[in-house]
């Protein structure tokens, strides 16, 4: 009689949505959406079959990359990408430091804070590619437009993270500097800069890494760098050269990622 009370079966309770009605509704909604979404995919099978031979050639090109026949273009592209990355990170960080200071609520007056925050918001909400299109239209094709694009994107990234870092500082240290009668510049120099410097260097290295990746992309719209070379190679259906370029990009990104990670650990 008492053994009736013990259940012999156990079902795991639902992990995400607790109400049964919403579980069913969400599942049905997802299925309907997927059916609708899949029905919009139009596939031109003849074109795909034609493309498959290209895919084969691309895989072959990736396995046997051709570094030599377009080596001059590749070198120019890599050179532009790397120099563009470095200069734009330096300029972007230099500009973003005052903006980051202005966007920190605890040290900036209200008006300056709002202006700096809106600069950051504009820079962050626009994609690099879209900015690159405009800068190419304004400044002509080439690495200079790319440099401006990456600098502009760096301002939003570093500015926001730096401002948040400054807002999170240990207030007691800043208070101690203030108590000595220090001016605002002295407060920033002795009370805040030592606290945020390691983080700023780390962020700059991280952004260097991101800027290189982006520099490989904005070349597609004409802003110089390796992306332009890649676009040309694919346009000519030279998959072996494209494979070589992609391998170089992957290699540089991996080196950048590991060395920046190592440097950041070293600086901590």
């Amino acid at each position: 009689m008492s053994h009736m009370a013990y259940p012999t079966q156990w079902r795991r309770p639902p992990m995400m949505v607790k109400s049964r009605f919403w579980r069913i509704a969400l599942t049905l909604g997802a299925i309907v959406y997927l059916l609708l979404a899949f029905s919009t995919i139009e596939v031109n099978y003849a074109r795909v079959i034609e493309g498959l031979s290209r895919a084969q050639r691309f895989v072959a090109g990736f396995l046997q990359p051709d570094f030599t026949s377009r080596s001059r273009d590749i070198w120019i592209g890599i050179g532009e990408s790397l120099t563009m990355t470095f200069t734009s990170t330096v300029v972007g960080v230099l500009i973003s430091i005052p903006i980051g200071l202005g966007a920190a609520r605890n040290i900036a007056p209200r008006l300056v804070y709002l202006v700096c925050r809106s600069i950051i918001a504009v820079s962050r909400s626009l994609q690099e590619i879209i900015i690159a299109i405009f800068f190419v239209a304004l400044f002509g094709f080439g690495a200079f437009a790319g440099f401006l694009t990456l600098s502009f994107a760096t301002i939003g990234f570093i500015g926001k993270l730096l401002a948040e870092e400054i807002e999170d500082i240990d207030e007691k240290q800043a208070e101690a500097i203030r108590a000595t009668g220090a001016s605002w510049v002295q407060l920033v120099n002795y009370g805040i800069q030592p606290q945020v410097m390691p983080r700023l260097i780390g962020l700059s290295l991280y952004r260097l890494d991101i800027n290189f990746r982006e520099s490989a992309v904005i070349g597609i719209v004409g802003a110089g760098g390796i992306g332009g070379t890649l676009n040309t190679a694919l346009g000519r259906y030279e998959y072996d050269t494209a494979g070589a370029i992609l391998l170089i990009i992957i290699a540089i990104v991996m080196v950048a990622e590991y060395s920046s990670g190592y440097l950041r650990r070293f600086l901590k």
């Binding site: 995400m16 979404a37 995919i41 074109r47 200079f144 982006e214 992309v217 597609i220 992609l246 992957i250």
Partner: protein, 270 residues
């Protein structure tokens, strides 16, 4: 009095040697910057750069006001863009979940063979932007939203895979031990000890990636991979800047909405 003042050393933050080293470092940085600048601007045509303010004025004059009537032909591409982002994210999830379990050091079946391969795939996917994937796939599959979906999927694998395998590695060992102690099989350990721990993170990562993918899929059309970017490309090639400005406003609106949705969902989950 003056003698003691002269003798007392002035306090300095650093020794002369480190100061010299720091100066040398800064000098090297500046030299590198100048050298890079020279190399970068070698092929710049400065006439275009000096001309930029005039060009900007001209461009803005043509871009505003936006051509509001054009919105009718943007709704369908916008739906395509949403589909590219959503289906691409799903494709990315499907590929990333097994990779993440292979790459996490506590769940990988073989530490010396499969784990490095999985890690390499994750890094490779992360280092190639979705636009480059799209460029490649359009030349293979032909233009259309299928190329966009696959491009977004391939790029998402690295992102989701990396964050998920880190979450798996950070799971609480005691819970896994408790389930193991009941005599559970490997699959049961996975199902009852590891999955419940990483599930909220997993949903969070997926929604976050979906939000990023909305932004990325908006521009994939530039290389022919469908969505609203196709309209952007078409408008730019006929220099219809008032259509371009409307498209940018639509993209901005979509991005803001998707960011709001993703923030709400993540807040509800975590």
């Amino acid at each position: 009095m003056s003698a003691t003042e002269a003798q007392a050393p002035i306090w300095r933050h650093r020794t002369p040697k480190t100061r010299l080293a720091i100066w040398a470092g800064w000098l090297a940085c500046v030299a590198l910057f100048v050298w890079c600048w020279e190399m970068m601007t070698e092929r710049t045509i400065w006439a275009f750069v000096y001309d930029a303010p005039v060009a900007a004025n001209d461009l803005l004059g043509r871009a505003f006001p936006p051509k509001w009537g054009y919105i009718d032909s943007l709704l369908w591409p916008l739906w395509d863009t949403m589909n590219i982002a959503t289906l691409g994210t799903l494709l990315g999830i499907v590929m990333a979940v097994p990779l993440a379990f292979l790459a996490a050091s506590n769940t990988t079946p073989s530490r010396h063979i499969l784990r490095p391969i999985a890690l390499f795939l994750i890094v490779a996917s992360r280092s190639i932007n979705s636009l480059i994937w799209a460029l490649l796939l359009v030349s293979i599959l032909g233009p259309g939203i299928l190329a966009g979906i696959i491009a977004i999927g391939l790029r998402s694998v690295g992102f989701i895979g990396k964050l998920l395998y880190e979450a798996i590695e950070e799971t609480d060992v005691r819970q896994i031990e408790a389930v193991t102690a009941t005599g559970a099989s490997q699959a049961q350990i996975l199902n009852y000890a590891i999955v419940p721990q990483v599930l909220p993170t997993f949903y969070g990562i997926s929604v976050f990636r979906w939000d990023i993918n909305i932004r990325e899929s908006a521009i994939l059309g530039l290389v022919g991979a469908g969505g609203i970017g196709l309209q952007l490309q078409a408008s730019m090639s006929v220099l219809a800047w008032n259509q371009v400005s409307l498209i940018l406003l639509v993209i901005l609106g979509t991005v803001v909405v998707s960011e709001w949705v993703s923030a709400k969902v993540r807040h509800a989950i975590i």
